[in-house]
Assembly symmetry: D3
Homo-oligomer: 284 residues x 6
């Protein structure tokens, strides 16, 4: 994957093993139009499968992070009205699953995904950021489960992942009313890890965190991501068992750990082998 | 359901699609006596099945929200001592299940349930408020898992639901010691959404939130409640799948969403059809 | 179990039904060496099975609570390099399970375990304290998932239990970067229940909490521990059902509860029978 | 509950602690009309809560056990077409849940339910018998998931419970095609426990099994039912834990077991106390 | 999708809404080579997304159904030996997931998949057929979990799905020893639905079953497949809930059911609308 | 572990990598007395941790396999009647867990456990054999969940594991009535893998199966056992994921698989390295 690939709704720059994706339709409040739904999962998959990036940062441009779903998507692209009602519903079911997959790629990517949020993070944008690993925002940021205000139930992940991130009592109030949750409340609730004064400060800080992650063993880091996501959805007992099997194959102290000790002795930064994607020349 | 129905332990008033239940035995610290255990699930069921209410607010009277279980219930109504011990235990098991059901109706009701808590919220009252959707309290409020101090393990829901609301480390300290958790700590921990100066301020604010919810599409809101409760108890994967099937039947943008756009164009509040209970003249 | 038993890596003192374990290798930063891994589960088992203690407090000595795994354990005791690779991995898998068991004993002990943490709580020490019931720390305390910095994924419980204690977004940042989380952030996140000015203040306070727990009915307390741990790993529905069955056998109000009322009437502290271990003279 | 209560779609006779329910609309192939859906859960609840029956036998009259859902129920009682589509679907959802509950009462009843099936067991009748504990049939019996032939997916329990009773590969063929599975195939597959030559032979044998069950300790039997249903839906580990807690309260060898030894010594049948329903004069 | 598409390892013919896939490398015992692993998921996806087929039949040619994995795949395409050991294991982990996905497409396809097995069904072939919906075989067929004989644990689905199809005690014997299970034992155990005298008889019969399925409402059938697979992996309670939501959107009796009644009145076969794939001109 | 170790209730002989345990109290119908409950888990643990055995066969002596629990265990060793009732129940709970553990060791052992059953397999003996991997019996064998006849609910594993082995409808009849299930019915139901004419024929055959297992790679076999037990208790999705991680560390084709090919080329039996227990001289 080269950095200069062309997208309509975002830019991507990979540098020093950090991929930085920027939503770049500020005039449309970075709303999620048809192009976006095609490009977003593709860019993540490409970074995951074809780049040496070890961390992803997603940020945005303009006053607001994203206004969420571009409603034109519904009017122009919804299920066909001329088909039998049950089939139409089945089609809608599969469409919802597809939309959900567009953000679940963030969980499946082998590297951490950090999101830097300024201004409004609304509707579909909340679906997106809750599927990321870590969230950071500016003081003027706010989060809104806007869907209820539009007469619908949010369906692309917010109601599934937010209850695993912050208190359910608060999730419910936000979902029922659609009110805006300001940055400080989001920080206290545990939705964002840190609040910054302005976007530039935030970007500098978040890219620094990404750089720190990129300096670690990518195998150790991907193990953390896999384990924490697993623990979210399983009992402690099951998670411990999964951990023990994971470790049995992945823990090779004679390599990464030894490199760290050697590098320290040699007063240099350790260097770690990349995670190898499955060679496409071979089976897959 | 009419508003003027008679209860001994509470009053209920339905107005502007908000049902307001008030515990009204302040002289007995709103303790939960035999009448209460009969009336409480009945009033919730009636609101749920027979009224047009779209939100429920539960508040109380006097210095304390509720002192919890009226111990006279135990002495006068416990399992029979003259029966074989195994049967007595089986009877107790089913009694506990029944008591739990009295509060689980809050989760099963189609509309959100907000609780406004003043003063002490003790023992059985914690069981009740943790089964509600959102909690609000006054500055002088406190929460106490009093049961341990009485030599027993709380058994009507607190130990099952509180660990899904606040940090388990804190739940354990509260349960082991029975100490009082003050309002601010409850807010920081995520148990309550907001702390208010006094009860009148709280009631005004909570009724306003309820009114805001009641102004939304009741179908969209009930979908939120169903999804968030489901997410609490299932993996993200299972919850996303459940969401997609739900949406396939419930999402009809040509109705509620269109009404919102039309109403906005006409500069009026949108009007939404009620959720229809299953007609009792028909099958059920 | 007598209080004067000898250990190399810790001391244990049982007094007034509170067992106080103190890590006592401050010169080695209380790192977890081979002796520790043998002694720690043994001391917990002994307290659990052979003492009348009703609460356990774990504290430490020196500037730091514990630096975690003593790396010499790896070099001297790791899986054998001369064996077939698959068998070596299987052996490592079982070793990880064994290490995990060394801390899971804290969850299985019948009585609450409180940890008082000063200074650094690093790597394996985070594995340990997240397996305890409640955590308390001093202002200078910090927590670090150090393993990633060593090129490995933490494997003794941190990544399995911490996501059930604090926001997953924060767990991930801590795990990916290995940064130190200071005491106040740990308090706000819900990892520790209270922050104290210095270690002496902390110890006095935590021992007082332990004493309060030890004054309660040990059967009621063990029921709380069992129920909260169960709720962490099961749906609310399953947990309510489990509670009802537990209560059917354990709730005997004519004993502990009556003793409390009687003691109050007689103006004395209530006295509760101990939980009886299974008599080793009998079956087990 | 007295035996002579009046129902339109079935008769019930309680004798020697066995309740025998007989579907008695043979001229309508015992199809499930509106009356049936009201009466069936009621008769089970009444037997469960108000009788001393320790086993239930369900049989039928005429050539066929039951033709399943009376389609007139749909045309006369379906969701209202004049309501908003989303609400109509929500209403249908709740109607399906209600119908499912009508058969789930069989699982929740404290005593075993045996079904004796002659001739056709079709559509809704398969939903019913799979919710019972044990199934027996005549040689001319057959089972048909008829719904697919009617253009719908069976929704009252068959597709949920049958995969837990017989091989999924067979369930799928039956569901996809709607073909009739004859008695012998049902026996070999594990759906029925025994095949009898004719209905009279079957009734005699099944009532004898019921009598044998009724002669056992009802507490021991209800424990078996609870545990086996629990095991169906949980891991072995969870089920063992649940068993241990159940036993702690219910196992009182000095009562039922001692009575058996005493009775044997006295050469008489043992007599066991009934399971006591929760006294309605008391809390519930 | 047209019928004449070209594959190297199989042929596909779609006729009368039944897609018939035939493994066509009899000289190599239809072993699964690199081409196969590419073509198999692709042909299933194409049928699922681009054809009007309502049922899939998979059969084979030559003396044996399939000898399973072509071992040349391992030698030529295994993980790279020159990479760091932990990364190599991580790569292998993802390769196994990919291989598993190649057969899981059978479960995700909207239509039933029937397999007709002659002769040996070995190793990877057992992985494949256990992921299908229904299995049928000839008298000379046999099944072998051959992997253990090759010194490895089967990893593409057999050990995960077979325990849900036949008794675990038998699965274990087959897996531990690698012995051949003959057709009749497979029938009695529940692995295959029917045993036929020879392949031609089998093909005629299985295609007739497929034709019967293809004559049913495809929406009703896909609902059955979704529900039975769901029930396999969830509790009855969860499955009933999922069913109720599914039905709320998919059950439109005024369409498919009415068409059946109308067609019967008109003495013709009913005609059902196809399930519509998500229009690729629109969002996806 | 040496073969000549002394036990009171059984003998153990290890030969050609097969451990053969024989219950040897035929005069007492091999009932499970206090000694047995101590010796049985110990012998399994010893074989598992200290021997090179790769398979275990359990058989018995005399007319009956085992009459189950020796009731003298209850009278002499039950919970103490002089202790507070709640504590007594808690003690009983832990006793049941301990008894269950005595048989769960069979599941946790790294090697397959085959049971050869003659005559009666009653009560506790059913608990034992359902915890083994594979069951075989003679024609005169029968199985009885005798506990219900003794006025109690079986509590050592039968009701938890049997529903995962045979149809639940049959499990229920057996549990409710306590009737004897004969060998052929057990075979058809899937409880036993094979029925033999007499005990000597059975022993020869079962030891031959054990020898066949012992000739396989012990790592491949232990992987099968781990995976099948895991699949029993988890969804297919979870089980596939677990498999992929297991395989990533354990699958080393250059070792066991290559040895098989080499041995075949050299016309000799392959030789596999043993699974290494964790060296007790090292950490554990």
């Amino acid at each position: 994957m080269t950095s200069e690939q062309e997208y309509n709704t975002l830019t991507v720059n990979i540098s020093h093993k950090v991929a930085h994706i920027v939503l770049n339709r500020p005039d449309s409040l970075n709303s999620m139009n048809v192009d976006f739904w095609h490009e977003f999962p593709r860019v993540i998959d490409d970074i995951n499968n074809k780049s040496a990036a070890r961390a992803i940062v997603i940020s945005s441009t303009g006053k607001h992070f994203s206004a969420g779903m571009d409603l034109a998507v519904f009017s122009a692209n919804g299920p066909n009205d001329n088909i039998e009602l049950g089939r139409k519903h089945d089609q809608l079911r599969r469409l919802v699953l597809k939309l959900q997959d567009c953000f679940s790629v963030l969980e499946k990517a082998r590297m951490p995904v950090l999101v830097a949020i300024q201004g409004g993070c609304i509707g579909g944008a909340v679906d997106m950021v809750t599927a990321a690993d870590c969230r950071y925002c500016t003081q003027d940021a706010f989060f809104s489960i806007e869907e209820t205000k539009l007469g619908m139930t949010a369906d692309v992940g917010t109601l599934q992942r937010l209850p695993k991130l912050i208190s359910i009592g608060l999730v419910k109030e936000l979902a029922y009313t659609g009110r805006r949750m300001p940055a400080e409340e989001a920080k206290q609730a545990g939705l964002v890890n840190q609040v910054y004064d302005d976007q530039q400060t935030m970007l500098t800080a978040v890219l620094a965190i990404a750089a720190e992650i990129a300096a670690r063993s990518p195998l150790a880091v991907t193990g953390c991501k896999e384990m924490i996501n697993y623990a979210r959805d399983h009992s402690v007992q099951d998670s411990l068992q999964y951990m023990s099997v994971w470790q049995s194959g992945m823990f090779q102290p004679q390599n990464d750990m030894m490199e760290i000790f050697t590098a320290k002795a040699q007063n240099r930064a350790p260097e770690f082998a990349e995670l190898t994607p499955i060679d496409p020349i071979k089976i897959f």
